[in-house]
Symmetry: C2
Subunit: 335 residues, 2 copies
């Protein structure tokens, strides 16, 4: 194979003030970087698309902000082309923030070696950040107990679709909240959710109350905003809310205020809210992966992936994800 010479890179051309669109991105052809000492030259294979990508454009979160005119940040599965670090060899698969580009030179310490799995995409869905986020968010942050009533928003998304299925495996009554009848039907028919509520059909408070007449014990929040509020007011005494994300607040001007009932309802119902990101539970990663693998093997956990092709389609993939067009884990196959 001839040495690669062109490195397609997608830049965040401009920090979006409102809704993200194609004009905020620019594709350029840069040069293939050279790995320095302690670095790896990697070729991007599968880019992970996440609502968090949009949040990074708003400012510092658990990572620094993505600035205009730099390569758009993003996690990916990549293949080592050249290694100048011990422990890595050409052909190894890694997970790292390569950014949206064909090639990246990254410090070896920021790369996580990945097993070779078929399909490789499972490394980004059920055994990747999505699966582990669902697992830890529900079981650790949410302290789920068998048989409880669970609600999850963005339920047809990469994390939500796994949250609901794990809760079913744990014998819980599961209510999914998603946009559109088609997604809702799919949650119930294919993924075994007990009920699904279409938030695009109107305000959900009453539907939710009818779906959970004895209240919600654990709400897994991916969206914030009005849906967070509707769930907050349907929580049971000593309920738990696992705060995973707030996608309703990412794309467009953030709402000037948060939901009503905070913190009043938190006192009245003695709720616990726990914000978390998946890395908070790194110590228990192996146990989580073992559980996820056994559920996939037994057919109790269905893996839903939504793969687009071509680096140039990455902006479109993210814009569509923010509009809710994906089911399950969205990614872009680059090579």
């Amino acid at each position: 194979m001839a040495a690669p010479t062109v490195n397609r890179q997608i830049l965040l051309a401009e920090t979006p003030k409102g809704k993200l669109d194609q004009s905020h991105f620019r594709l350029i052809e840069g040069s293939v970087p050279v790995a320095g000492e302690g670095e790896l030259l990697v070729r991007t294979r599968l880019v992970s698309l996440d609502a968090a990508n949009r949040a990074w454009m708003q400012g510092a979160t658990y990572r620094s902000a993505v600035e205009a005119d730099s390569v758009m940040a993003g996690g990916a599965i990549a293949e080592v082309v050249e290694s100048k670090a011990p422990g890595f060899a050409p052909g190894d698969l890694i997970f790292a923030d390569t950014g949206w580009q064909d090639y990246a030179a990254i410090p070896a310490r920021s790369a996580t070696k990945m097993p070779k799995l078929d399909p490789m995409s499972h490394l980004l869905s059920v055994y990747g950040i999505a699966g582990l986020t669902a697992y830890f968010g529900l079981l650790r942050a949410g302290r789920l107990k068998d048989g409880e009533t669970v609600a999850v928003s963005a339920a047809a998304g990469s994390v939500g679709s796994i949250v609901g299925q794990i809760a079913r495996i744990k014998g819980c009554h599961v209510i999914g909240i998603a946009g559109g009848k088609e997604k809702c039907d799919w949650l119930v028919r294919e993924l075994g959710f007990n009920q699904a509520i279409d938030y695009k059909a109107g305000p959900i408070f009453k539907t939710l109350k009818a779906a959970a007449p004895h209240g919600i014990d654990v709400y897994f929040d991916n969206v914030g905003g009005d849906i967070f509020e509707a769930c907050l007011f349907n929580m049971n005494l000593h309920g738990r809310i696992a705060c995973c994300g707030a996608v309703s607040q990412y794309d467009g001007a953030p709402s000037p205020h948060g939901p009503r009932g905070v913190p009043g309802m938190i006192v009245v119902k003695r709720l616990s809210l726990q914000g978390f990101i998946v890395n908070d539970y790194d110590d228990e990663r192996e146990k989580a992966l073992t559980d996820l693998e056994s559920w996939v093997a037994s057919g109790q956990l269905k893996v839903q992936e939504d793969i687009l092709d071509g680096l140039e389609n990455t902006p479109k993939a993210l814009i569509g994800l923010l509009a809710g067009e994906n089911r399950g884990k969205r990614m872009v196959r680059v090579a």
Copy 2:
């Protein structure tokens, strides 16, 4: 002593829509009730005034709402006049929800026998709901660790003034938030707070940031609203917010929205919010009282009480408390 014949009672004449004032109350002279089987006839001695009294008028919380034209509800220290229940005798002191009246007939099971202390008022302040709420809220809900940075709102109030002092005893850096320079000076000079911020002097976000340059680890929230928001944005990673009350939302039309950054900031900083009421920790009551007594005995914990005289002044006492005119635990001496 001749048998009492008149029972002064203060009714909630009307459920307030906006700010509470005297017109919402009415004093009537009723008859002294008769204790039935299993009941106690008690004489009210000291009525406890709490911001929660106002919240009860808004609807069901952890108790049912106080309805218009009924005796205003409220906890009090009372003396048993007649007992038709085993375990209680005339002269015993109890704590119960007697309501705002001279005499009440109450089921013995809803009365808690109290030791005879001098001064009796300590049963409502440091060894009562205020002291225990501060203790459990800070140490259990807030999971305080020695040496952390703590912020507390309504810091000159019954709960807040004890929260700050306990945090100092635990070697923490304590920032109080209170209304007015005089209260703030008192918090620092008399109670040993490290700093105090006057929220009436302007928005507190920047002052708070300057007071806690390394961020806040535990915020004890008594007020909700804008102060909650300012603290939320100054929290450290893995900070904890003990949600005790939301007095800013009780008196007047409740704000249509909650603070910004909920739940977004909860994720970014992996905060824990824990709503609680003092009864959630009944099992550990003895240990708490032992600690509080030893701190009072050693002079590390100063007891601040604010006692008014006369049942007829109870409405004024509550209205004033909601306006922030008290320091420490407010109560009304009835007999």
